[in-house]
Amino acid sequence: MTTHQQAAPAPVGGSLVNAATVVCGVLIAIMAAILLVRFIFGLGTVANINDGYSWGIWVVVDVMIGSALACGGFSVALLVYIFNKGEYHPLVRPALLASLFGYTLAGAGIFVDLGRWWNFWHIFWPGYANPSSVMFEVAVCVTAYVLVMWIEFSPVFLEKLGKRDVKKKLNKWLFFFIALGVLLPMMHQSSLGTMLVVMGGQVNPLWQTPAVPLIYLLTAIVIGYGVVLFESCVAAASYRRTIEMRLLNPLSKIMLGVLAVYLVVRFGDLLIRGALGEALNPGWVAISFWIENIAFVAPFFLIGTVAARRNPARLFLAGIAIMLGGILLRLNGFLIGYGHFTGSGWTYFPSLAEVMVTVGIFAIEVLGYIIITRRFPVLPRENAQVAS
C-alpha cells in the first residue's frame, strides 16, 4: 500500500497490440461498414426506428446514456476542486480521460443519427438557432464541454511533448476551465432530462415531471462516482495494479450521500404528483421502474458499512448497480415509458446493426483509453511497475 503521499501520473507502458485492442478494432470496422450503408441509403435501411419511436438507441444509449456514463470527470472535479478534497486528485486524470472519450463520442454519435447532418452547424448559427429549444441548450453545452475537457486534459499531452512553458501559461487559466468543466455538465445533464418535458403525456408520469432536470443532474453526479468505482476496479484488474482503496472507500461514502438525496427527491416528487400508482400497473413499464429503483437502492445494502466498503468486489458491484439504475432511468423515460399517445401499433426494438454501431462507439472509447493510458501519464505511478 502506498503512503498518503500521492503518486504522480505515469504511462502504464506495454504493447498496444493485444486481445482487447484487436477485438476493439474488429468491432470498430463492423461499425464503419454499417455506417457506410446508413449514409448511402438512409437511416431506415439499418435502424428499426420508426415514426412511433423516432429516437432509438443511437440517441438514447449513445448520446444520453453515453454522456451520463462519462460524468466521472465532472463528479471528481466537483469533489477535488469545488469541495477541495485534494486527496482524490489521483482520480482526476483517469476519470477525465474516460469523460473526454465518452463525451467526444456522444457528440460525434449525434451525426450518425442526424437525418440531415450536413445542416448541423445551424444549431450554433444565429438566425437558425432556437434558444427556447432544450436541444439547442444541450447541443451548445455539450460542444463547449468537449472543448473544455480537451483543454483540461491537454497538460497530459504537453507533459509528454515537453512543452513546459505552454503548460505553465495554461495553468494560470486552468481554474477557469475547471469551473466551466463543472458548470457545463450541470447545465446539459439536467437539460437532457428537461428534453422529456415538451413530450408531455407521451411520457409515462413516472418519468414526466417538472423536477426532471434535478433528477437527471443528481443521477449524473452519482453515476459519475459509480463509474469511477467501476473503472478503477477494471483498470486495476486488467493492468494488474493495486486498487486505490484508500480513495475509493471514502468516495463511495460520498456517493451514498448524494444517492440518498436523489432518492428523497425522486420519491418525494412521485408522491407529491401522486404518480406512484403507475408503478403498480402490471406490465413491463412498471417492472422496469422497479428494477431502476432497486438498482439505485442496492448500493446501501452492498456498501452500507465501512467493512463492506473495504471489499473491492462490493465496490465494483455497487458501481455497476448505480450505472444500471442510471441507464434504466434514461431508457425508461425516453423509450420504455414513452409512446402513450402514439404507441398503439408502434413497436421498437433495436436492430443488430443499431446495436453493433453502439458497440462500435463504446469500442472506440475502450481502445482510446487503453492507448492513452499506456502511452501518456494518466494513471498514478505504481512502485512495482516496469516502465515502458
Binding site: 498518503h4 486527496e87 437525418g115 445542416n119 437558425y128 495553468n171 486552468l174 475547471i178 415538451v198
Partner: protein, 331 residues
C-alpha cells in the same frame, strides 16, 4: 466529517436552487400561447364524413407526394397512417357489428388525421434550428427542410404524432400538413377542404370555424340545418342536412391552449385517436423551466463566477506532480 457534511449541503443547496427555478419565478414563467387573431384552420365534422378519401388523394396531389402501398397488388395509394409522404388520412373506428354510423357500440366512425396547427406547438418549441415555425399572422406551422438537421425531436414531441420522417432516404425530410400554404397565392386553399363533397372538412379562419362548430353542437340532433362546404367566406356551396348526435366538445378549442384545426365527433375523442390534453401546453412548461434556469444567462454566469472563485483557491498546486496530499485525516 465536517467537509463531507459541507459537500452534501452543497448538493442539497444546488438542488434547491434548481427546484426553486423550476417551480418558476413569475418573471420567467411562459404562458401557454393562444391562437393568433387571423389564424387559419380547418373544421372537421366526423358526422358529415362519408369516408370517400377524396381529401387523401387531393392532399397527395397538392403536396406532390408519391403513393404508398399496403396491399399486395400495389394498384393504388393505400397508406395506413400519415408518414413522411402522406400528410392527411381518414381513419376508421370500428366496434362490434359496425351497423350504425357514429355509434360507439356496434358502430363505426371516421376521423381525419393531419396536423392540428397548435396555438402553442410542441414541435416549434422542440426544434433546435427553427426549421419548424409558426406564422405570426396565419398561425400555420410550417417546415423548412433547408434549415432542418433531421434530429426528429419534433417527431417525438408532437402529442398527435404528426411530423413524420422519411427513413428510406439518405436525405430524408420531415413531412407534415402545412395547410397548403403554397397554394394560397393562386387563390386556392387547403386541398382537403376544397374537394370535400360533404363539407366534413371546412377551411377558414379558426375564429369563424369555432363559431360554426359551436352553432352545430347547440342544434337538436336529428333537426335540419345548412352546412357550408369548401371554405367559410367563400362562394356559397351550402346544402341542407340532418344534425348529428354531437358530443358537447369542440376538440381543439382548449387542448394545449387550442389548435387551429377543430374537430366535432359523436364518438368519444379518445376512442378515435385524439388524445386527452390539458389546457396548458407542454411547450410552455418546457420553456418555463429553460428560461428560469438560463434566461439572460443570469444563473449560469453567477454560478460560473462562484465556481471560478472556489476553483482558483483550490487548484494552486495543480501542476506539481510531486504530490500534495491535502490529507484531512478522513479515512
Amino acid at each position: 466529517m465536517d467537509s463531507r457534511r459541507l459537500f452534501l449541503k452543497g448538493v442539497v443547496a444546488g438542488g434547491a436552487a434548481i427546484t426553486a427555478a423550476a417551480v418558476a419565478p413569475p418573471s420567467y414563467a411562459r404562458e401557454t400561447h393562444s391562437r393568433p387573431a387571423e389564424a387559419l384552420g380547418l373544421l372537421y365534422d366526423a358526422t358529415l364524413c362519408i369516408g370517400c378519401k377524396a381529401c387523401v388523394v387531393a392532399c397527395k396531389e397538392a403536396n406532390n407526394n408519391p403513393p404508398e402501398f399496403s396491399t399486395e397488388d400495389r394498384l393504388w395509394d393505400t397508406p395506413l397512417d400519415t408518414s413522411g409522404y402522406t400528410f392527411n388520412i381518414i381513419k376508421m373506428y370500428r366496434n362490434g357489428t359496425m351497423e350504425t354510423k357514429d355509434a360507439e357500440v356496434n358502430g363505426f366512425a371516421f376521423m381525419k388525421t393531419s396536423c392540428m396547427h397548435c396555438a402553442d406547438p410542441s414541435c416549434v418549441s422542440a426544434c433546435p434550428v427553427s426549421a419548424m415555425t409558426k406564422d405570426p399572422v396565419t398561425g400555420i406551422v410550417a417546415y423548412d427542410p433547408g434549415a432542418c438537421v433531421g434530429c426528429r425531436y419534433c417527431v417525438v414531441a408532437c402529442p398527435f404524432g404528426i411530423p413524420k420522417y422519411q427513413y428510406d432516404s439518405p436525405t430524408g425530410k420531415i413531412g407534415k400538413c402545412e395547410l397548403c400554404r403554397h397554394r394560397y397565392q393562386d387563390g386556392h386553399y387547403s386541398a382537403c377542404a376544397e374537394v370535400c363533397p360533404t363539407g366534413a372538412t371546412l377551411h377558414g379562419r379558426s375564429a369563424d370555424l369555432l363559431l360554426e362548430a359551436k352553432r352545430r353542437i347547440a342544434l337538436k340532433p336529428g333537426s335540419v340545418t345548412r352546412y357550408p362546404r369548401g371554405k367559410i367566406g367563400g362562394p356559397d356551396q351550402s346544402y341542407e342536412g340532418p344534425v348529428g348526435n354531437y358530443l358537447q366538445h369542440v376538440y381543439g378549442e382548449k387542448e394545449y391552449g387550442g389548435t387551429q384545426v377543430l374537430k366535432l365527433s359523436a364518438v368519444t375523442f379518445a376512442k378515435v385517436g385524439m388524445p386527452d390534453l390539458p389546457p396548458k401546453s407542454s411547450a410552455a412548461m418546457s420553456e418555463t423551466i429553460q428560461h428560469s434556469l438560463y434566461g439572460g444567462l443570469v444563473m449560469p454566469v453567477v454560478v460560473l463566477g462562484a465556481l471560478s472563485f472556489i476553483a482558483k483557491r483550490n487548484v494552486h498546486d495543480e501542476d506539481d506532480e510531486s504530490g500534495t496530499g491535502k490529507d484531512k485525516g478522513e479515512k
